[in-house]
């Protein structure tokens, strides 16, 4: 059995088992959820280490395929290459961390952990799937618990509004994607029709899709996936939704689920419809400036910490889109690194802000201040996360954003300059201001709980470790990514060899 199957089936089986346990065995329920996510994380780490590197090994590894519904062209097919390798590792770590930080949930614990495991297992499965049906199916399976969790365990006055807004937005996005994917599937002649990504890739390489279908399928997929990733101007669900979501849900959605749209664009939209991709990148690069600049400016005005983080997370998605819009090897590699880095980062910041909210019962930045004295560990972790958020070298965001900007320079200097502005100046302003208002200052606090033992520190430590490891050794990711991105870039007409053969992203200097 492929380790991929273990990674996503164990949480799903865990959810099923939890459903059978009576609700008063609270310790058993929590232990089982932790165990399932821990096994999944170990399997993911193990797979990451076992993954064979080097140009000699191309294509998918750890492949497993079984017939499912042969008459419909659906099969159970999982596999991993450089593009989803890092995503799956990141997703599994975030899932475990999300289960760890959920210890404060006491109301209807059983349902909470069932939904959390469904979310995590679903999205990990979607990333592992090499079959469009399961790709979509498992993502939807992960999406619905999000809505329920925000509605049931959410916080704030706008909870109900946020639930309906996020439900309607993301459902529209997902349904557009469904129509687009069905459109792709139907481009194959009768008899050869399949949802298998490998077969589809091979088919479209040999028989490029006709301009007519490309003309309507690509925009549907672009905006469908775009809504799921909070592409400006379809982003308004994100800050409000994350602001109202319980901590674990916000971590998983902002960190992992959101990357599904980007992954879909890279895996499906670009290689299958290269001609339209060439036409639409101009629109995309204009819209992603909306993410970077507009949402950055909105983040500057926020008084609520969760809304600030939510808006900054939307702004970060702009860099991922910018890398896709560059259609270059460096830029797309950067996008994948940004996806992984932002997964750790978003999960970490939402985990910490959730902790803060539980301790001081407010997220209003104006009411905070001087907290670092009482919460040294949480404070330090949050400051590191915020520095990572404004792209300080040493954290994984830096190599990603740097690669995106380098990759985009040839396409448009103006866009790149504006994006740099957004990243360095706007991002710097709101992050540093938040650090000052929350952690420094004269205000005194009564005794607060600062992650008293190692067990409570573990989730934050894991996520920080992810940021630092991939920040200091980005080649762990980029070496695999560039091999797998090569065919994508070649499909869209750019020549991946135009860069120097031994292309190596900048090794950032360590921060200290």
């Amino acid at each position: 059995m492929s380790p991929l199957t273990v990674i996503f089936v164990v949480p799903l089986l865990g959810a099923l088992l939890l459903a059978l346990i009576p609700r008063n065995f609270r310790f058993v329920i929590r232990s089982l959820a932790l165990l399932a996510t821990f096994v999944s994380m170990l399997a993911a780490i193990n797979m990451f280490c076992e993954f064979s590197k080097g140009d000699a090994v191309r294509g998918y590894q750890f492949v497993e395929q079984h017939a499912w519904a042969p008459s419909l062209g659906i099969s159970y097919h999982v596999g991993v290459d450089g593009i989803n390798l890092g995503l799956i590792l990141m997703g599994a770590v975030v899932l475990f961390a999300a289960a760890c930080v959920s210890w404060r949930i006491t109301d209807r614990e059983k349902e909470y952990y069932i939904l959390l495991l469904l979310m995590g297992g679903g999205i990990l499965g979607a990333f592992a799937s090499l079959d469009l049906f399961f790709f979509y199916f498992l993502h939807e399976l992960a999406l619905v618990p999000t809505f329920l969790m925000i509605g049931l365990w959410g916080k704030g006055d706008n909870k109900n509004y946020a639930t309906f807004q996020i439900t309607l937005y993301l459902s529209v996005g997902a349904l557009l994607v469904l129509i687009g994917l069905l459109g792709v599937y139907l481009q194959l002649p009768v008899g050869q029709r399949t949802f298998d990504v490998v077969a589809l890739t091979a088919y479209f390489k040999a028989h490029p899709m006709l301009p007519g279908p490309q003309h309507w399928i690509f925009p549907i997929l672009l905006f469908g996936f775009g809504i799921l990733v909070s592409l400006w101007p379809f982003h308004t669900w994100a800050p409000l939704g994350y602001g109202s979501a319980p901590t674990g849900t916000a971590m998983l959605h902002a960190g992992v689920l959101k990357k599904f749209g980007l992954y879909g664009l890279i895996r499906i939209a670009l290689p299958f419809m290269p001609d339209e991709a060439q036409k639409w990148v101009y629109v995309l690069s204009a819209l992603c400036l909306g993410n970077i600049l507009y949402c950055g400016l909105v983040a500057m005005r926020q008084r609520n910490l969760n809304y600030l983080i939510g808006n900054s997370s939307v702004a970060h998605m702009g860099f991922a889109f910018l890398g896709i819009a560059s259609l270059s090897l460096i830029g797309l590699t950067g996008t994948v690194v940004v996806m992984v880095a932002h997964g750790f980062l978003a999960a970490l910041t939402f985990a910490l802000s959730g902790y803060l909210n539980d301790e001081i019962k407010t997220l209003d930045i104006a009411e905070m201040g001087g907290l670092l004295r009482r919460l040294p560990f949480i404070g330090t972790a949050m400051i590191m996360a915020m520095l990572a958020g404004c792209g300080v070298p040493g954290f994984a965001g830096f190599p990603g954003e740097a690669l995106v900007l380098f990759g985009n320079w040839d396409r448009s200097g103006t866009v790149t300059t504006l994006a740099v502005w957004g990243a360095l100046v706007i991002g710097g302003v709101y992050m540093l201001r938040a650090i000052r208002h929350i952690w420094h200052g004269e205000k005194t606090w009564p005794e607060l709980n600062d992650a008293p033992n190692l067990w409570r520190k573990l989730p934050y430590g894991l996520l920080l470790a992810g940021l630092l490891i991939f920040g200091c050794f980005p080649r762990l990711l980029t070496d695999n990514i560039k091999i797998s991105i090569g065919p994508v870039v070649r499909a869209v007409g750019a020549d991946p060899t135009e860069t120097t053969p031994g292309f190596m992203p900048v090794i950032p200097r360590s921060r200290r």
Binding site: S71, L72, N160, G183
Partner: protein, 479 residues
């Protein structure tokens, strides 16, 4: 005589007579045993249906009756639907003042009508089968004679159904007059000539109007919410599942067997009707507070989704329609069983408040049913909509109107998520009610709900078996 063709129908009618006779000797306080006998009999007939095979179509009674894979698919469907309705009726027994035996008998007779409809291959047979269904429902809908709502619903159904039947029979007369035959195969044979005949057009349009009433599609949809709300809950369930499916099997046969040339010519009409039906049902459902009324509008929108399968005019569309119906059966059976147990005095959404504390099983079943209706994986409704959309988009190269139809469907699905989640919200989020007493759920209901949940999940995750049999069944339609 080819009575062996009628095995299943004869068994159902025979069971009806047995129950009617048993009723004479059953004491008043033991009448609920009649439901048990009916259910057991139906289960036996269902098992019997699996010994038959429709691989080689058999035609009998001068071409009026066809026993093929398609007919068998629908007969099994109707048997399962009737079985779950009879169980619901057992749960409902304390709310029916008298006539428990007749209640079961009428369900069985309506079932026989549906099974005849599944095999009808002649317009005369279509009319007889539909009347058998309608007349049984006239009585069933107003079965709670002491409730004004029930009587009102019965009268509405009677008047509108009679109107639809008159359209149907007039249409049949015109078709017979122009085509010199009421037999589907014979009409198909002279189809090319008839396709130019305007009187034939009018006849077919009137037949379609009569069928639109049965499936509650625009323009004859307005009865559904009123009747659904007023009728006893088990009857509503049978109306929503059985009667609708009977309309669809007839629609498929009339369009694709009797008049395929004209059907292809009218593709735009079906696209329009499907789109309007989807939008009407979904938009009107938004403000509803009554659970049964909401499901009435939802049933209109589902008729619209099912019409996608007809409008696609291809084999995968028809097979997708069958698949969707199969999922719809389990979903609605679960929803109406829960309503049957919970909504005793009123069916306002507020009766659901705190249901997850009063009975987790009922809350789970209703939640899953709503999620399935909203078309979200891993439940049956998702795969059904997936397959229907696939069939529609497949036709896009033929006519771009199909893409617009897909867009309208998408809008409908998004709107529907709003009100289906409203039901879920009423269960989990609502202000806690004063009454938090546990709701007892009897063992038969537990089993029935368990089977419905299993069915929804099975159809949502493992499409292979049912899809293959649906694809096999629609071969009878000769695309």
């Amino acid at each position: 005589m080819q009575l062996s063709l009628l095995t299943l129908e004869l068994a159902v009618v025979g069971l009806a007579f047995v129950v009617l006779l048993l009723d004479l000797w059953t004491p008043l306080e033991a009448k609920d045993r009649l439901s048990v006998v009916t259910a057991a009999g139906l289960a036996l007939i269902l098992a019997l249906s699996f010994t038959l095979s429709g691989a080689t179509p058999a035609v009998g009674f001068h071409g009026m009756f066809t026993q093929d894979a398609l007919a068998l698919f629908f007969k099994r469907f109707f048997l399962i639907a009737a079985l779950s309705v009879v169980l619901m009726g057992w749960e409902f027994r304390d709310r029916i003042a008298q006539g428990h035996g007749e209640f079961n008998v009428l369900i069985l007779i309506a079932l026989a009508g549906m099974m005849f409809a599944a095999s009808a291959s002649d317009f005369v047979m279509v009319f007889v089968a539909l009347e058998l269904i309608s007349v049984s429902f006239y009585i069933l809908i107003s079965f709670q004679r002491s409730r004004l709502h029930s009587l009102e619903a019965g009268v509405k159904y009677l008047i509108l159904s009679a109107l639809a039947s008159s359209f149907l029979v007039f249409g049949i007369a015109l078709i017979f007059g122009t085509g010199n035959s009421a037999n589907f195969e014979a009409l198909r044979f002279v189809g090319a000539k008839l396709a130019l005949n305007k009187v034939f057009w009018l006849g077919l349009l009137m037949v379609l109007l009569g069928l639109a009433f049965k499936i509650s599609a625009v323009p004859l949809q307005m009865w559904a919410p009123d009747v659904y709300q007023g009728a006893p809950t088990p009857v509503t369930a049978f109306l929503a599942v059985g009667s609708k499916a009977a309309g669809f099997i007839l629609l498929l046969r009339v369009l694709l067997v009797a008049a395929p040339a004209l059907a292809a010519h009218w593709s735009k009409l079906f696209i329009l009707v499907a789109a309007v039906t989807i939008l009407y049902g979904n938009l009107c459902a938004i403000p509803q507070r009554s659970l049964k009324r909401l499901l009435g509008y939802s049933s209109i929108s589902n008729a619209g989704y099912l019409l996608l399968g007809v409008a696609a005019l291809n084999a995968s569309g028809a097979a997708a329609l069958l698949y969707y119906l199969a999922g719809y059966l389990f979903t609605l059976a679960a929803a109406f069983t829960v309503i049957c147990i919970v909504a005793r005095e009123s069916d306002d959404l507020s009766v659901l408040a705190g249901l997850h504390r009063r009975s987790p099983l009922l809350a789970l079943a209703l939640t899953l049913a709503m999620i399935s209706l909203a078309g979200i994986p891993p439940l049956a409704g998702f795969l059904g909509k997936f397959l229907l959309l696939k069939a529609i988009i497949q036709q896009a190269p033929v006519d771009t109107a199909y893409l617009w139809l897909a867009g309208v469907t998408l809008a409908g699905v998004v709107i529907s998520i709003y009100y289906y989640f409203g039901v879920i919200r009423a269960i989990y989020w609502a202000k806690q009610p004063d009454d938090l007493s546990a709701i007892p759920v009897s063992t038969p209901m537990r089993i029935s709900l368990g089977l419905c949940i299993a069915g929804m999940l099975y159809l949502g995750i493992f499409p292979s078996l049912v899809w293959d049999s649906a694809a096999e069944a629609v071969k009878a339609l000769k695309f």
